[in-house]
Symmetry: none
Subunit: 217 residues, 2 copies
DNA sequence: GCCGCCATCGGCCGATCGGCCGATGGCGAC
DNA sequence: GTCGCCATCGGCCGATCGGCCGATGGCGGC
């Protein structure tokens, strides 16, 4: 279940989002709030998997809420998808700089909303096509990543991902176990499996793979 | 009606795409072809609104077909969405430079496929979330969503840098020694010093620091 | 000349990792 | 129901790491 928090000052919008998302059997809306202050406090209290934030809100706006929940200096960032009516480059830039895992225009349609939530939960990022086309223009002449992280021979399981992320942060196996409520043996089993799949010789190479493939940042 | 051409060497994939897209009442698949040569000729003959191209195809591959149908030097470019199983940065880079209006991984699911076609038809671009998240990292010089590495309390010496770079690649202390013509003891001394300076608890944290601070990539 | 910093090397020891064997239970596919 | 995959856990052991002590020599500044 992907647990979602919705923040938007318009009640009709909140209701609409809730109906769309709750209709999915892998998504559960755990709260909806009408302003930025409540968004921050509710998010910290409930720690949802994904926060859906409008930009125009009384008090704190969605961009500032994003910074406080997902910004570069936040210890344990949440996943944030920013939603707005206004297609301004400035908004997009700020949102993404503040750690957003997605940027959607409200005219995007339900399918993209759902996919954006799922993508954010997976650690990916979905950006509205109207915006993407403009972002891509900036790439012309620019550099796209050359570092290639070789794909794993087999896909990692969800649990393996959890363990990898923790390991890449520098936690020891015992610490990972404590964080994920696993025994030392289980952590070692998962890491050994990942090691084989991504072709790493030790945990630093696992971390390097995680880094390059965007699993962690 | 959005008129779509499908090019993929696997018949099952073509059928799958056709079923998904034909089920939409605003989309119509006008042709499907199994190789790059036919893709180019059919596309020029039928002039579909959107072309869905696999990369791996006999004859011309999808990236070359993209260039011929949508490249910067083409007079009246068609809209192209590139679809592939393989998540390689090089593919993404080439496809987008060759004028693609979208890049999808085959594991993306029907919803994104449909939205990618609609977006391309509108002149927008949809990119798979897994890829978007990596694109964003390198956008704007990597300032977006990048977590800053705390500066070391004291600057690292040149030799320490050498050792850190090797360690971040996943080499063991013995291997680092062999590479830099140092004894095991010396490598350990340097790494211990770095560990103190950057506030790391183990070599993975040293590696993480190296990545975030741009010492290595 | 002396002092500080750097680079180089050594020994010792406990903690951690990595490789290898094994086992159980759940759960979905065929 | 059986098979396979996944998640969970255990033991054993050698390799490696990390922490702590030490040492020598070079080189530049005061």
């Amino acid at each position: 279940m992907i647990r979602v928090l919705i923040a938007d000052d318009q009640e009709m919008v909140r209701m609409g989002f809730r109906m769309i998302l709750d209709a999915q059997d892998d998504i559960e809306v755990v709260a909806d709030v009408p302003d930025g202050i409540s968004a921050v406090s509710k998010a910290r209290e409930l720690r949802p998997d994904v926060c859906l934030l409008d930009i125009r809100m009384p008090g704190l706006d969605g961009l500032e809420v994003t910074r406080q929940l997902a910004g570069p200096e936040v210890a344990d960032p949440l996943k944030v998808v920013v939603v707005t009516t206004f297609d301004l480059d400035e908004y997009v830039h700020t949102a993404l700089r503040n750690g957003a895992s997605g940027f959607l225009l409200k005219d995007a349609g339900p399918a993209l909303l759902i996919e954006a939530v799922r993508a954010a939960d997976r650690g990916d990022a979905l950006v509205s096509p109207q915006i993407t086309v403009r972002l891509l223009k900036h790439f012309d002449g620019g550099t796209i990543a050359k570092r290639e992280a070789p794909a794993p021979s087999e896909p990692l399981t969800a649990r393996e991902m959890d363990v990898v992320k923790a390991a890449a942060r520098g936690l020891t196996n015992t610490e990972i176990g404590a964080e994920l409520f696993l025994s030392l043996s289980t952590v070692k089993t998962h890491l050994a499996s990942v090691q084989g799949k991504v072709g790493a010789r030790n945990r630093v190479e696992i971390a390097a793979w995680a880094w390059r493939s965007g699993v962690v940042d």
